[in-house]
């Protein structure tokens, strides 16, 4: 596939969190068709076993392919962490997950070769970021932050409670031998919404790597799409076409999704995936 024609990119997540990845993709690759699948009836994947996650994700990925996706983005840290290999094996098209791009960005940003990764219980327990980073010669402190997702979903993105929780989590994350880590990886697609708060709470010297942005960058590279400022006027002005599929309430998806995508979520179709 080349950038000479408009690509159809399938984006998959367990819910609305992956819309932060779609948001980053829209900024970088506006001249594309996007199919977004949110498996909202079965979220969160974070509390489920690897086998269950692989089973669910594979069904969604097949659905996106059958609807024309030529490239798949697993915009879900848990699914990428727990089930990337089975998802890729089940797919006819190229698949990009969020872990490898985030790990690569962190590895190139870290001078100290020491990184802190935060995410859900399932992502952290999988040690997917640790494996990816250690393979690049970077040592890792992983820290599960299970309260961040519900705090973001409550809408408390700038709230004293969220700040207190962040202070507790990050002080544990950057303690002892991780005190000189110089990169913080946001290993959950909900976390970009509290990035300004995390920026205030994290040690000043720390660079924050947002897996959503790193993934959008990796997708553009895969499609050999030039940076936006190099492209011609017509392409810079091209509007993306968006279509959304959700396995649970369409109304809930629109309402919550709009906050994550940063623009109105309109064309949502309900999908009933049989297991």
């Amino acid at each position: 596939m080349t950038a000479s024609r408009r690509p159809t990119i399938g984006v998959f997540d367990s819910g609305v969190g992956g819309l932060t990845v779609l948001r980053a993709l829209l900024e970088r690759i506006p001249a594309a068709d996007y199919l977004y699948f949110g498996d909202t009836a079965r979220l969160p994947y974070g509390s489920k076993s690897a086998a269950t996650v692989a089973h669910y994700a594979t069904g969604a990925v097949h659905y996106l392919q059958d609807h024309g996706a030529e490239l798949l983005v697993i915009a879900c840290n848990t699914a990428t962490a727990l089930a990337f290999d089975p998802i890729r094996a089940a797919s006819r098209v190229d698949v990009i997950g969020v872990v490898e791009p985030g790990a690569a960005a962190a590895a190139s940003a870290s001078r100290k070769r020491k990184v802190v990764v935060i995410g859900t219980d399932a992502t952290i327990s999988s040690h997917a970021y640790q494996r990816a980073l250690e393979a690049k010669g970077v040592s890792v402190r992983e820290k599960a932050c299970p309260l961040f997702v519900p705090l973001v979903e409550e809408g408390w993105v700038e709230h004293s409670v969220t700040e207190q929780v962040a202070r507790i989590y990050l002080s544990e994350a950057f303690s002892q031998d991780a005190s000189d880590a110089d990169v913080l990886v946001l290993g959950c697609t909900h976390y970009p919404l509290i990035k300004p708060l995390l920026r205030r709470v994290a040690p000043d010297h720390v660079i924050i790597v947002d897996s959503a942005e790193s993934t959008a960058h990796a997708v553009a590279e895969q499609l050999r799409i030039e940076p936006l400022h190099l492209r011609d006027e017509s392409e810079r002005r091209a509007l993306p076409r968006l279509k959304f599929f959700a396995t649970d309430s369409v109304e809930k998806f629109k309402k919550m999704g709009t906050r994550f995508l940063g623009r109105s979520v309109e064309d949502v179709v309900h999908v009933d995936l049989k297991e």
Copy 2:
């Protein structure tokens, strides 16, 4: 069914929360066999539509019946609130939910005829408690408290963050025309674990009604089981038999379940429910 022989009671929840109901049942009816079904692969029901919840719960209820349950307890506020009628219609045996017993206990406890109900988003949005209480001539303020479940699951049951969150939620719940409400209904099976904290934060004059305890009381009445102190020695000493079914990781269920049940969770079988 009478109390003259040992009953088999099926208890259903989306996860481990219903174990607080089982805990209350064990205290009140120790001489029974219990089958507990936790649909952990598909939790939480709180974010799902009524149709999805009804579909999932019905499958679980059939499973419990097929394994010998003679009475079913829907130990899940969300499933009771969203899908009690379809669950009862699909069941061959008697079904008791958590909403009606909690509402009945609240109605008899309230002198002011004004009650506050807290629960998950889904339970509150369903207005199931409001309908049940208004039918008893009691006016209701409902308040969703979506952060309590993840705070309990994080283990922060006595924590300054949880107390701060509780102060915010309860001050909203008891504001304006609900300021003289004299009963607080814990409309979520996770909340008994933070009952001591809620007792401190709630206004002093407020009586706390725990739906788990009210439900255990309703089950004993349904089975015509006498209060424990009236029964003979052999029955008081009888040990319950417990068997657990979980749709996701058995190890996770054991670990988390032990905290909710207040005793060791041992005999857990993994179940793969096809939709």
